[in-house]
Symmetry: C2
DNA sequence: GACACTGTTGAACACATCGTTCAATACTGA
DNA sequence: TCAGTATTGAACGATGTGTTCAACAGTGTC
């Protein structure tokens, strides 16, 4: 349905591109309430009637905008080093929160998630997009049962520190959080020993948890 | 300013009480945007003009409401058992998020925190009120330098699990999170009164953390 | 180039809500 | 009782929303 490659009027393509871009800019710059058909049309340089034609409701605008934001989201490439990749992913997340106004976007979606099923899906989409890179890193280095709690601890801590305490989260703080979370984390039981780069002894299929040893001088 | 004990017209006292209560109910039930002078007046059973007289702007209404919510916030009493108190505090927090609609309230404040200095202070007030009990528990059991990160990890994880993953956070999940965080936490220096306020180790880089032993059968 | 088709435009419109004002009324303390 | 004040209900202009429509402009085809 998205691939209408057959003869899409270039005027429609232009309109979609410009209006969605204007909506995203407005949404990130000024928040959910600023996204109005009139404001979007003014910012995009189109008529209000045109915007109503393609996106009848405000939610249509915001939904298209968030979908595009998620589609275009880029994450730092994984190097294979667990701590470095976690640090990079969390730093990326923290930067999006502070400078990318992701905090306001997340808050807007959470605030209205109960009003509409569509917003609830957008919330899930945003969360999964923002955490997919970190989840992938954890899944490739850490026992399956540790992935979800470790992810929640790390992303939650960064979210709280940045959003509620308003303090800049630097490399030292991130390393501290990572060390704390990994202290109760078991390395992944790898079926492929060649690709395993986790420090620590090779873990068999047995359940006894062996904490990853903390590097004494991690900095 | 708040204690005008000298001859306060009972009509004003009634109005304040009823209108602030109606605002809180509206704010928690239907969110920030639902708090309108007209809606509040209708719900409280007063005239719109009266509401405008006492709270000229919408922010005045919401500010008074949140201040009252924070003032009346109650937390489970500490028993002295670290894990039990943390579990109780986190369960309380999770319950407020899911059933008390605290998630929507927090989101609304975060979303508009950059618009106004007043909202920023409300955000801080709400966060400190919601975490004061947990912070007190940690401060009385855990090394000073562990308090902030442990608090951020625990509250952040619960926030993320409840708000974004939408999963019910039961006792088992809370115990798991607590065990993970405490694994990299140093017990408080000592119980003797002379060292009560000592914030961690001396100017030294600090000794390697001595983890609190995990209870083997915590699940 | 002429043509039919369709997206875009600008203006107009009804409708709802917000913030304000004010004279009339109801309540309070002395 | 009475003066002072809080509350009321209704009105008003201003603003923004959602919709409609005839006129205009870009597109692909012949």
């Amino acid at each position: 349905m998205t691939s209408e490659t057959a003869a899409l009027d270039p005027r429609i393509a232009r309109t979609r591109r410009d209006v969605v871009a204007a909506t995203s800019a407005l949404l990130l710059d000024e928040g959910w309430d600023a996204v109005t058909h009139a404001a979007v049309a003014r910012r995009a340089g189109y008529s209000k009637a045109t915007v109503y034609t393609h996106w009848p409701t405000r939610l249509d605008l915001i939904s298209a905008s968030i979908e595009q934001i998620c589609d275009e989201a880029e994450h730092p490439a994984a190097t294979g080093d667990l701590r470095a990749d976690l640090r990079a992913g969390l730093a990326d997340f923290a930067d999006d929160l502070t400078h990318g106004h992701l905090d306001r976007l997340l808050a807007g979606v959470v605030e209205r998630a109960n009003d509409s099923e569509v917003v609830g899906r957008l919330r899930t989409r945003l969360y999964e997009t923002g955490t997919s890179a970190l989840r992938a890193v954890l899944e490739s280095h850490v026992a399956q049962r540790d992935v979800e709690p470790a992810l929640a601890l790390l992303t939650g801590a960064v979210l709280v520190l940045v959003t509620f305490e308003g303090r800049p989260v630097g490399t030292a703080a991130l390393d501290d959080l990572i060390d704390r979370v990994l202290a109760a984390t078991t390395p992944r039981a790898s079926q492929d020993p060649s690709a395993r780069e986790v420090p620590g002894p090779p873990a068999d299929a047995g359940p006894p948890p062996k904490p990853i040893s903390l590097p004494s001088g991690s900095r």
